[in-house]
Symmetry: C2
Amino acid sequence: MKISEKNIERLLLYRRILCGLRSENVENIYSHQLARIADTTPEQVRRDIMSIGYSGSSVKGYNIIRLIESIGEFTDARETQRVTIVGAGNLGRALIDYFQGRRRKLFIAAIFDNDPQKIDRVIHGVRCYSVEQMKEVIQKNNIDVAILCVPAAAAQQVAELLIEAGIKGILNYAPVKLSLPSHIYVENRDMLLAVEKVAFFSRQH
Amino acid sequence: MKISEKNIERLLLYRRILCGLRSENVENIYSHQLARIADTTPEQVRRDIMSIGYSGSSVKGYNIIRLIESIGEFTDARETQRVTIVGAGNLGRALIDYFQGRRRKLFIAAIFDNDPQKIDRVIHGVRCYSVEQMKEVIQKNNIDVAILCVPAAAAQQVAELLIEAGIKGILNYAPVKLSLPSHIYVENRDMLLAVEKVAFFSRQH
DNA sequence: TTCACGCTGTTATTAATATAACAGCGTGAA
DNA sequence: TTCACGCTGTTATATTAATAACAGCGTGAA
């Protein structure tokens, strides 16, 4: 059974929407309702949900709590997955803020920076280590996902260190295209390109 | 002639790569070289470049300076386009850092926040205004793109104010799905979903 | 001079993705 | 009891995007 990136993106979005509804004590939802919120079509929603093997009822639609669980079973690791943030600048700190305490199956286990002022300090509850300690800390804590928030000039080098330390996936916010072995999963979230894109399409409308 | 979102994303990426090469005094490049750096195929590169009407030579490949110009003619506004950042927290400041002085056709003209400590102060060279002044400042400065860096709880409301003020496109970093009229272009860059996605695919590899 | 080479530009093919159509089913009203 | 309704799950179609194939061309070596 093959699942595409877009599939996963939508499923994760559905889950977030559903969690919001659950906290408002909504119990069930129809595909067309979820589609409207997620900005897609009912067919797409049904297909996505079908792809993870969950079934709703033709009367009540989907049970929100069970659907959240099903998406979790499909997308989450069995045990908590550990994440590191590299670069304790504004962006790194913003990520910790947004992140901490949100998803219980993901945990930010360490921050890395090369500023002596930050090393060994605890930032928003997470300890900051020097880049020299990277391999040791990553392996000891069994971290396999890294979020790269360093300046463009440092990104490639840091990414290589991360891979050497055993990282499996990188979320790259640095405005540079990384050149890495193909067995590493890289998701680029270049902020400058994103602004340029929005600037372009905001004129087309 | 229709151009897709992925088309534009790749073209903007090519431009950034090419600008890097230009600063190293490289003059020409072949489609297969650019493809390797941009992590795509030579055919894709040629098609993308064809789609903006630029032509290379079969001997020297593409002239880097002219190709950069052609991409700019296609993607950039004629006059400088003005952008605002809403939310002067860590993320907002990170964006200003990454951004300022990079793309001469895009200019951050204002920041908005509701923290009295920040209002009327200049942050990294950009003046911060209160949300109450939003409509006035946006219209006076002719801003048509907004980057949303506010907490999830405030995002929908702020987005509506932005639209009321005349914004055409929104780059949304808040971890929430906005519900907005369809004539507004919205690009979602949800950081939590991005981490979840990378966590998932890092296990699949 | 001529011929083989490697590149671009373009067309053709394939694959991926989204959209639409429809069968099956339980419910509730008539 | 029966029939129409509205939903899901699934299959079929259409659309879109990526990949491959190839024609044309200028160059440089033989």
